[in-house]
C-alpha cells in the first residue's frame, strides 16, 4: 500500500502530563515537521554488517507560535529535562489511528532543544525532540501507535500567531536606534546542549542569548556613543502582542556583553550592535501574566 504523508497534530506536555494535558504546547501553526526514526550509533561488524544498538527518534518542528506563554512551556521542559509528546499522523485508512498515534511517555520521553526567535522577519519557535530507545521498546512504541487513543486536538490554529514587530529596544534606557533607522534586528534565546545522555537526550544547563540591531545611523557620534556605552548595560526589548498590549524582555545589567561592527562602504554605511551571553537556565524568569521575561545576572 502506498502510504499517505502528513501529520495531523503534535502536542507536547510536561513529563507525566500528556493525558490532561498539562504544560502543553500544540504546534498549530508550523512549517513542515518530521519524525525521523533511524539507528543510533550502530555497531559495525566485519564485512560492514550493521548491528543495532538503539533506535533513535527525532522530531523537528518550526512553529510560528513564539508567544511568551509558549516560551515558558519550553523553558519548563528544558528545566525538567524533557517532555512527553503525542504525534498523530494522517490516517492511512478509515481507522483514525491507522497513521499512528505515537506516544512518547514514561521512559520514552523526549529530550528537548529549542530556539525562540523574534526578529523583523519572523517570530518563531523551533524545537527538536529526541531520544533513543532499546529496539524492544522502539518496537513496542510503534506497535502501540495503532492502539493509542489520540488526545483529540485542533491541528491548525492561528491562536498563538503574533506578527513580527518591535516596539522599542533600549540600552540603559536610551533607544539603540530610532525605528526609522533600523535595518534589521533579531533576538534569540536558545538552549545550549551540555552533553547527551546514554539515551541520546540533550542535557541542557545554559541558554544562549543573542540580540542584534543593525541601523543606518553610523555617524561618528553614534558609533562613539555606542562604543562608550558600558558593555554589560541593561537592555530592554518590547514587542506588541495585541493592539495596546506588550511583551517585555528585560535583560538586566551584567548579563549580555556588547560589541559593535561598523561597515563604511560604497554601497552601505551601518552600525551593527551585537549582544551575546550564555546564562544558567534558572536566570530566566517569566512572570505569571506570561508577558514579562526577566533575565538576571545571578
Amino acid at each position: 500500500m502506498i502510504s499517505k504523508s502528513g501529520i495531523k497534530y503534535i502536542v507536547t506536555a510536561e513529563r507525566g502530563g500528556l493525558s490532561s494535558p498539562v504544560w502543553s504546547f500544540r504546534a498549530g501553526l508550523r512549517d513542515n515537521a518530521e519524525l525521523m526514526i533511524n539507528d543510533f550509533n550502530p555497531l559495525k561488524s566485519v564485512r560492514n554488517v550493521n548491528l543495532t544498538v538503539m533506535k533513535n527518534f527525532k522530531f523537528s518542528n518550526k512553529t510560528f507560535q513564539a508567544t511568551v506563554r509558549n516560551f515558558r512551556v519550553f523553558d519548563l521542559y528544558a528545566k525538567t529535562g524533557g517532555c512527553d509528546a503525542q504525534l498523530v499522523a494522517v490516517p492511512q485508512s478509515d481507522d483514525p489511528k491507522s497513521g499512528g498515534v505515537f506516544n512518547f511517555v514514561g521512559d520514552a520521553f523526549f529530550g528537548v532543544m529549542f530556539k525562540f526567535l523574534l526578529s523583523n522577519k519572523e517570530r518563531s519557535l523551533n524545537y527538536d525532540l529526541e531520544c533513543a530507545l532499546d529496539p524492544w521498546d522502539a518496537n513496542n512504541l510503534l506497535n502501540q501507535s495503532l492502539i493509542n487513543n489520540p488526545t483529540n486536538q485542533t491541528g491548525i490554529s492561528t491562536a498563538d500567531y503574533i506578527p513580527p514587530n518591535l516596539s522599542s529596544l533600549t540600552v540603559n534606557g536610551l533607544p539603540v536606534f530610532a525605528k526609522d533607522e533600523l535595518l534589521e534586528w533579531e533576538f534569540v534565546i536558545e538552549t545550549k546542549e551540555t552533553e547527551k545522555t546514554a539515551y541520546n537526550r540533550s542535557k541542557v544547563d545554559y541558554y544562549k542569548l543573542s540580540l542584534r540591531a543593525k541601523g543606518s545611523d553610523a555617524t561618528i557620534t553614534k558609533i562613539v556613543t555606542m562604543m562608550n556605552t558600558n558593555n554589560l548595560s541593561a537592555v530592554v526589548l518590547t514587542t506588541r502582542y495585541a493592539d495596546s498590549s506588550y511583551d517585555t524582555f528585560t535583560i538586566n545589567s551584567n548579563v549580555l556583553a556588547k560589541r559593535e561592527e561598523v561597515q563604511i562602504a560604497d554601497n552601505t554605511r551601518n552600525l551593527n550592535v551585537i549582544w551575546e551571553a550564555e546564562i544558567p537556565l534558572a536566570n530566566v524568569v517569566v512572570d505569571g501574566t506570561f508577558h514579562n521575561v526577566t533575565i538576571n545576572a545571578e
Binding site: 490532561s20 504544560w23 498549530g28 506563554r69 490554529s157
Partner: protein, 219 residues
C-alpha cells in the same frame, strides 16, 4: 408598530421573514403566539436550534432580518392565531414589541402541546476558572468562557447527550492551560475525554444523542 399577517403552512419549512428587524449580536428575539388572547405554551426565540422534529426555529443575527422557520409539524393549533414579535436588547433587558398580526395556521396539525418544547438558554456567558477544575455543564448553559491555568487543566463534564439532542455549547479557552471536554461513559461509569481545547481556541459542541456521550465537535 408594523403589523404583518403571516401564514404558517405545516407542509413547508419556511414560514415568513420580517423586514428591518436586524438584531445585534446579543439581542434576543422572541415570538409569542396567542389563541383568543391566551398565550400558547410555545416559545420561539432567536436561537439557531435547527431541524429537530416538532421544533420551531427563529433565526436572527447581525445583518439579517428575523426569519421564522419551523419543522414539518408545527405544534400550534390550526386556525387563526395572533402573534407578537419582541426584541430584547442586552443593554436594556427589556422586551420591545416590534411586530404583531394574525398567524393563519393551516395543514395537518399535531395536538397542541401541553409542555414547553424549548426553554430559553442562558444567554449570559458562564465563566469557569481553575477553582472549578471539574465543571459540570448543565442544559441551561450555552457559552462557556473557560480560563485554565498553564500548570493545570479544567475538565468540562457534559450532560447525557441523549436528553439534549440538538443542544449546542460554545466553548472558548481564554486561559493559558487546556480545557478537556469529557462525556460520561455508562459502560466505564466514568467520564472519558472527547476533545482538548488549546489556549486561544474555541469549539462548538452539538449533542447528537445516539448515546450518552455522542457529541459532534465543530472546530
Amino acid at each position: 408598530m408594523p403589523v404583518k399577517n403571516i401564514t404558517i403552512d405545516v407542509a413547508n419549512d419556511f414560514i415568513d421573514s420580517f423586514a428591518d428587524t436586524n438584531a445585534t449580536t446579543n439581542d434576543l428575539m422572541i415570538m409569542n403566539f396567542y389563541n383568543a388572547g391566551a398565550l400558547i405554551n410555545v416559545l420561539v426565540a432567536s436561537e439557531k436550534l435547527g431541524g429537530l422534529p416538532n421544533e420551531i426555529v427563529n433565526e436572527a443575527g447581525v445583518g439579517y432580518d428575523v426569519t421564522i422557520v419551523k419543522s414539518k409539524l408545527a405544534l400550534l393549533p390550526s386556525g387563526t392565531l395572533t402573534y407578537k414579535l419582541f426584541r430584547i436588547t442586552e443593554s436594556e433587558q427589556l422586551a420591545t414589541e416590534i411586530y404583531n398580526g394574525n398567524a393563519t395556521v393551516s395543514g395537518s396539525q399535531s395536538a397542541e402541546p401541553a409542555q414547553v418544547i424549548w426553554t430559553n438558554h442562558n444567554y449570559q456567558p458562564r465563566d469557569i476558572k481553575q477553582d472549578t477544575p471539574n465543571a459540570a455543564i448543565n442544559t441551561e448553559d450555552r457559552l462557556l468562557l473557560v480560563d485554565p491555568d498553564l500548570n493545570d487543566a479544567i475538565n468540562l463534564l457534559l450532560p447525557d447527550a441523549r436528553s439534549i439532542k440538538g443542544k449546542i455549547y460554545e466553548v472558548r479557552n481564554i486561559g493559558d492551560g487546556n480545557v478537556v471536554v469529557k462525556g460520561y461513559d455508562d459502560l466505564a461509569q466514568n467520564y472519558v475525554q472527547l476533545f482538548v481545547v488549546n489556549p486561544g481556541d474555541g469549539i462548538d459542541i452539538r449533542a447528537n444523542g445516539a448515546n450518552e456521550k455522542d457529541y459532534i465537535i465543530f472546530q
